[in-house]
């Protein structure tokens, strides 16, 4: 095996210098210290994304993106197609787990200050990927065309309409008209299976290339200890040592996904009726709950400003600050302990957890 591999690599190397690519892949090492566990979350998110791509392609074989056919086609997948329930349930569970691991990955990077110079662009590409993942969640949720997804989309796109200046235009662009109809479904389908995957692939390539180029960040607390001689800098090669550990984690994740899909198959609900009432107790998916709950607490008008607009502006501004944190917390790049930003992170987590809890209570 090893000899065949060497011969193939040798052949490719003679043609286009494949050796230098291999060198590029091999040069990365993973620092070993007590926070090493957090380095696994990016790979885990990537793995779940790959599960999404594969199960998504399988779902495309039977799904129909029309108001008349969408619900029935998902019903067909769930009841008639062999293992269709499994594929769809894995797609739904993996989507939720991926958003969860993306959250964890983001916060672990934040608290370990891995965004500091020279990794600002890695952080920004990661944040853009995170927004795309939320977009995947929002657009994919509508596709089964059931009552819950219909009203979630109605409310979600309605919110976009409150944006200043371009609000109305964005609403019509998202819905493919003034109302949520079959045209919206076709659009969301296009976003979900073409636009977002394309953007995600480009950003993912950028993100991974930057990670590979810059290597893993060592947290400032560990860096300090190494400088003071209290700890020695340990590391392991990424390929194959760390990757094999990654694969063990992915193997476990597959087991968890299979078990979740088999024990709790994803529900389909009832077919959307655009002229029916919204069901009681309706609320968005868990990852949008904190924004939803915050908006519920805002009064209808604050100093002539519509509360939805205020909420949008607030979350928009907060999101912008979050994306630009490597530049705001530039002092961390000089190895300074910037406690303010650590506190800000704890506040954000506390806010998200508390608001989400209040929403489901």
């Amino acid at each position: 095996m090893a000899r065949i591999y060497r011969r193939i690599m040798g052949w490719l190397d003679e043609r286009f210098g494949a050796g230098s690519i291999e060198q590029f892949l091999r040069h990365k090492t993973v620092p070993v210290h007590r926070h090493t566990i957090w380095y696994y979350l990016g790979g885990m998110t990537l793995f779940l994304f790959i599960v999404q791509v594969l199960t998504g392609i399988l779902l495309l074989l039977y799904y129909r993106p029309t108001a008349d056919g969408a619900f029935e086609s998902v019903q067909f997948i769930m009841t008639q197609v062999k293992f269709g329930w499994l594929i769809r349930s894995i797609h739904s569970w993996s989507a939720n787990l991926m958003i969860f691991t993306a959250f964890l990955h983001m916060f672990s990077v934040y608290f370990l200050k891995a965004y500091r110079k020279p990794r600002e662009l890695t952080w920004i590409s990661g944040m853009l990927l995170f927004f795309i993942v939320l977009g995947f969640g929002f657009s994919g949720y509508l596709l089964p065309w059931n009552t819950l997804s219909f009203f979630a989309t109605k409310v979600g796109t309605d919110m976009a309409g409150f944006m200043p200046v371009f609000g109305k235009w964005i609403l019509v662009f998202l819905r493919g008209g003034k109302e949520v109809t079959g045209a919206t479904l076709t659009r969301f389908f296009g976003f979900h299976v073409a636009v977002l995957p394309g953007l995600a692939t480009l950003l993912l390539a950028t993100h991974l290339l930057l990670v590979q180029r810059l290597g893993m960040s060592v947290p400032p607390s560990i860096e300090k200890k190494i400088e003071e001689g209290k700890e020695t800098a340990l590391s392991m090669p990424f390929f194959p040592n760390f990757l094999l550990r990654d694969i063990m984690g992915w193997y476990g994740a597959l087991g968890v996904l299979g078990a979740l899909a088999a024990i709790f198959p994803w529900e389909l609900g009832t077919k959307a009726n655009p002229f029916g009432s919204a069901p009681a107790g309706i609320r968005p998916e868990w990852y949008f709950l904190f924004m939803y709950q915050t908006l519920k607490y805002l009064p209808a008008k604050v100093l002539f400003i519509n509360s939805e607009l205020l909420g949008l502006l607030g979350f928009g501004l907060a999101g912008l600050v979050w994306v630009l944190v490597p530049f705001l917390d530039y002092k961390a790049g000089f190895g300074r302990l910037t406690r303010f930003f650590t506190g800000l992170g704890i506040f954000v987590i506390g806010f998200i957890v508390m608001m989400s809890w209040l929403a489901v209570r």
Binding site: F83, I87, P240, N241, L244
Partner: protein, 153 residues
């Protein structure tokens, strides 16, 4: 730090071979366990086809002499022709070459497949071009004002 893989030189130690065997078996079993549902999923479930032996193709007077009508018969198209002499004839409209839907050419008094210029005569015989077999003929009955086409048993 854990060393990875085989030692480059010398005989592999027997314990290592056991681990490799177990890992390999587990990996192959996993791949099969994931490929099997995916393959079964890709195979479409059978769709119940209408087993109707006959269908109303047209109303009397709907089709003029030397014209034809393509209609649905079960899951496939069929063609009902009224010849220049006023006789009704019905065939499957699926070309025996590559499955295009044929049409009636009033100028030639023949059945023509536009995809690869295949020609059948009014008995359904393949007389020119690539079609390898004649078109299956159906029987035509006029019942009241309805023209009924039935499969030959």
């Amino acid at each position: 730090m854990v060393d990875s893989g085989h030692r480059e030189s010398g005989a592999p130690d027997p314990g290592r071979r056991w681990v490799d065997l177990l890992l390999g078996t587990g990996l192959v079993a996993t791949i099969i366990a994931f490929l099997y549902p995916a393959i079964r999923y890709v195979i479409p479930p059978p769709v119940t086809e209408s087993a109707d032996r006959s269908v109303v193709a047209a109303k009397v007077g709907e089709i003029k002499d030397n014209t034809a009508k393509v209609f649905r018969f079960g899951s496939e198209p069929a063609i009902l022709i009224r010849t220049a002499e006023g006789q009704y004839r019905a065939f499957t409209a699926v070309c025996t070459h590559l499955g295009c839907t044929v049409q009636y050419r009033a100028d030639l008094h023949e059945i023509w497949c536009p995809c690869h210029n295949g020609i059948y005569n009014l008995q359904g015989r393949n007389i020119s071009g690539p079609p390898p077999r004649p078109l299956t003929e159906y029987t035509v009955h006029v019942q009241g004002d309805q023209i009924v086409v039935a499969r030959n048993s």
